[in-house]
Amino acid sequence: MASEIATELAEQVDRALADAADVSTLRDLEAGNWPAATWDALVALGLNGALVPEAAGGVGLGFSDVAPLMEVLGRHAAPVPLAESIFANALLSAAGITPPEGVISFGAGQGAIAWGRHASHIALLDGARIALYPAAALAWEVGGNIAHEARDRARIIGAPVAEAVLPNGWGAEAALLATALMRAGQIAGAMQAALALAVDHANTRKQFDRPIGRFQAVQQQLAVFAAETSAASVAAAAAARAVDRRGLAAAAFEIGCAKITVGEAATRGAAIAHQVFAAMGITEEHQLHHFTRRLWSWREEGGSEAFWAKRIGQEAQALPGALWPFITAREEEITP
């Protein structure tokens, strides 16, 4: 469970985002404008080093502490890569590289890099090898996910400023696992935001002389949405807890299960949100799509449900014994 300081930090970020970003910021972002003011407001909280140990100059939080923060970022459809910067800092620091100031993102292999064109530095991972490139050493083939968040491909045209290898506990899939963990929390948060919008709409929009939320058919759908939202949040938190206990690489099972859970939840939740809002939820003007398009996009990043389902299924098939003892032992073999 998140510590008190983590809850406080999440609340700070929540307030900062409420003050420094709104729907017009999201619209500007889609038009290609970098919200410098929003970034400055967030970076002033000093959270880039949230996952960096105190000894290395960071805040020294654990992954469970950071999970509520990811939810807050999702709840605001945060128009800046604080999540990416926090995880990039963690990866660099784990490999013994001092993270630079500024906007940092990370990626692996030939894959698209979240917010690449906006970053001052990029941590590029190749298995467990990690190299830190300044923006000047990379050329971008810009792209985006369906929410129009920058997802850019890098071509290396200069030298890295640092290179190192991640320790064993972080493994050769660190970029994938970190992305999955990040997106799991953000999906939970974006679902909370979309759910709140949908409930509010159901309580105010009238048809047949009463709020549509008075109709049981609508209530039942929103209840499903709420249940899936809780499941997403629990899954993201449980995956983060597993990383705190076992390290990133050894928590791949929990991260995968969480990514499947949040992905399925996002699909169901986004569909219900749009059903409740009917045509007005589809308009550019309405804010709902800033959340639902992110939900659809984030399902794909850090491994889709299909990707993880195959892996988790294969892992389960390869177990020497039954499934149940495997699941319970993962929680209990390590006494905290």
């Binding site: 039942q220 809780s230 859970t261 399925e264 988790i312 294969q314 209990e332």
Partner: protein
């Protein structure tokens, strides 16, 4: 929406040891668990097995020692429940007493009721059932008509309960009945009370109802001038509705709301070990199981803390029922029933027919979602 919040709970100290002890116990008894028994899950009724569980101290294990309990935590109890269900053990003879009737008596019963009933539930001697539904009262429970009239020396009970699981095999029922008329134009849940009914008492007529599998699982129980002693009343006269609804977090929160089909999932995992094409579908089931378990343990933790997580329980029950109910169909998409090994085929056949009950018993899917909608502020 605070009622929809879940905080993760870590395993209690000694969890692995307790789990190993339960597994060793179950391994001894497992040879008796036929595929049908495993598929029945907590609807399997076996007095001998229940007495053996009682002898281990695993019935009423959170209750005070002076009443036959073991003073263990809810999280420890949860471990025992999980293992029983995962193994498909026939826990039906003590499930209701341990889950609901005992905790109710412990919380609201008189000293004599506690002394009499709790040790006998904990040892496995007394099997309990719940008397809620009536022929004309299902989800609209407050419309129930069974009536206990105050008479000299006690109460006179008349009316009818239905869908009472194992009513014909149990010793006692805690029934929700009307003890005074509902106020004119007022709330119908006023004037209801909970009473202990000895099912061997004169005037109790039990008619088993054959279910679609061809078994006698549930019953219609008619009360014809049944005399109940003064101390048959549990808790406060007229407060039965509030008492019965406060049991709901206990009734709906447990692993029995997502593990009812678990032995079939294990059979599928074993049978489909080499089947590459089955991996994705199996992976999704594993992920769902993992997520539901985290939610369910969180609810057990809330009970441990003395909270009343009735909404979280409804939420986990709804998601859990969807999962356990869908499983037979998921499995037959992966392997044709005629290709299943005999044991698996029998479990699958039973579950296919009985899974519709999962989202009925303990409150229907629609009622669960109504509870969540209320918490969302929609009703």
């Amino acid at each position: 929406m605070a009622g929809l919040r879940f905080d993760l709970r870590d395993a209690p100290e000694g969890a692995a040891e307790l789990r190993a002890e339960v597994r060793a116990f179950l391994a001894e008894h497992a040879p008796n668990f036929t595929p049908e028994i495993r598929a029945r899950s907590w609807m399997g009724f076996d007095r001998d097995f229940t007495r053996a569980v009682g002898a281990k101290g695993w019935i009423g294990m959170c209750w005070p020692r002076e009443f036959g309990g073991a003073e263990r935590s809810f999280l420890e109890r949860n471990i025992v429940l999980e293992e029983m269900l995962a193994a498909g053990a026939p826990v039906g003879a003590h499930w209701i007493g341990d889950r609901q009737s005992g905790p109710l008596i412990l919380r609201l019963g008189t000293e004599e009721q506690k002394r009499h009933f709790l040790p006998r539930i904990a040892s496995g001697e007394y099997a309990f059932c719940i008397g809620l539904s009536e022929p004309d009262s299902g989800s609209d429970l407050a419309s129930l008509r069974t009536k206990a009239e105050k008479v000299d020396g006690g109460w006179k009970l008349n009316g009818r309960k239905i869908w009472t699981t194992f009513g014909h095999l149990c010793d006692w029922m805690i029934a929700l009945v009307r003890t005074s008329p509902a106020p004119e134009g007022g709330a119908r849940h006023i004037g209801l009370s909970q009473v202990l009914v000895n099912l061997r008492a004169p005037g109790v007529h039990i008619r088993p109802i054959r279910d679609l599998v061809g078994e006698k699982g549930f019953n219609e129980i008619t009360f014809d001038d049944v005399m109940l002693p003064e101390d048959a009343l549990v808790g406060q006269e007229g407060a039965g509705w509030a008492q019965a609804t406060s049991e709901l977090a206990f009734e709906r929160s447990g692993p029995d709301r997502y593990l009812s089909s678990h032995p079939l999932l294990e059979a599928a995992m074993t049978t489909l070990k080499q089947d590459n094409a089955a991996a994705p579908a199996l992976g999704r089931q594993v992920a769902r199981l993992w997520a539901l378990r985290n939610m369910s343990v969180a609810v057990a933790g809330m009970l441990e803390d003395g909270q009343d997580p009735v909404r979280q329980a409804a939420l986990v029950k709804d998601l859990g029922n969807d999962f356990e109910q869908a499983l037979p169909n998921v499995v037959r998409d992966l392997i044709a029933t005629e290709d299943m090994p005999e044991d698996m085929r029998r479990m699958h056949a039973y579950l296919t027919q009985i899974v519709p009950t999962f989202s009925l018993r303990g409150g229907t899917r629609e009622i669960m979602r109504g509870i969540i909608a209320r918490e969302l502020g929609l009703r």
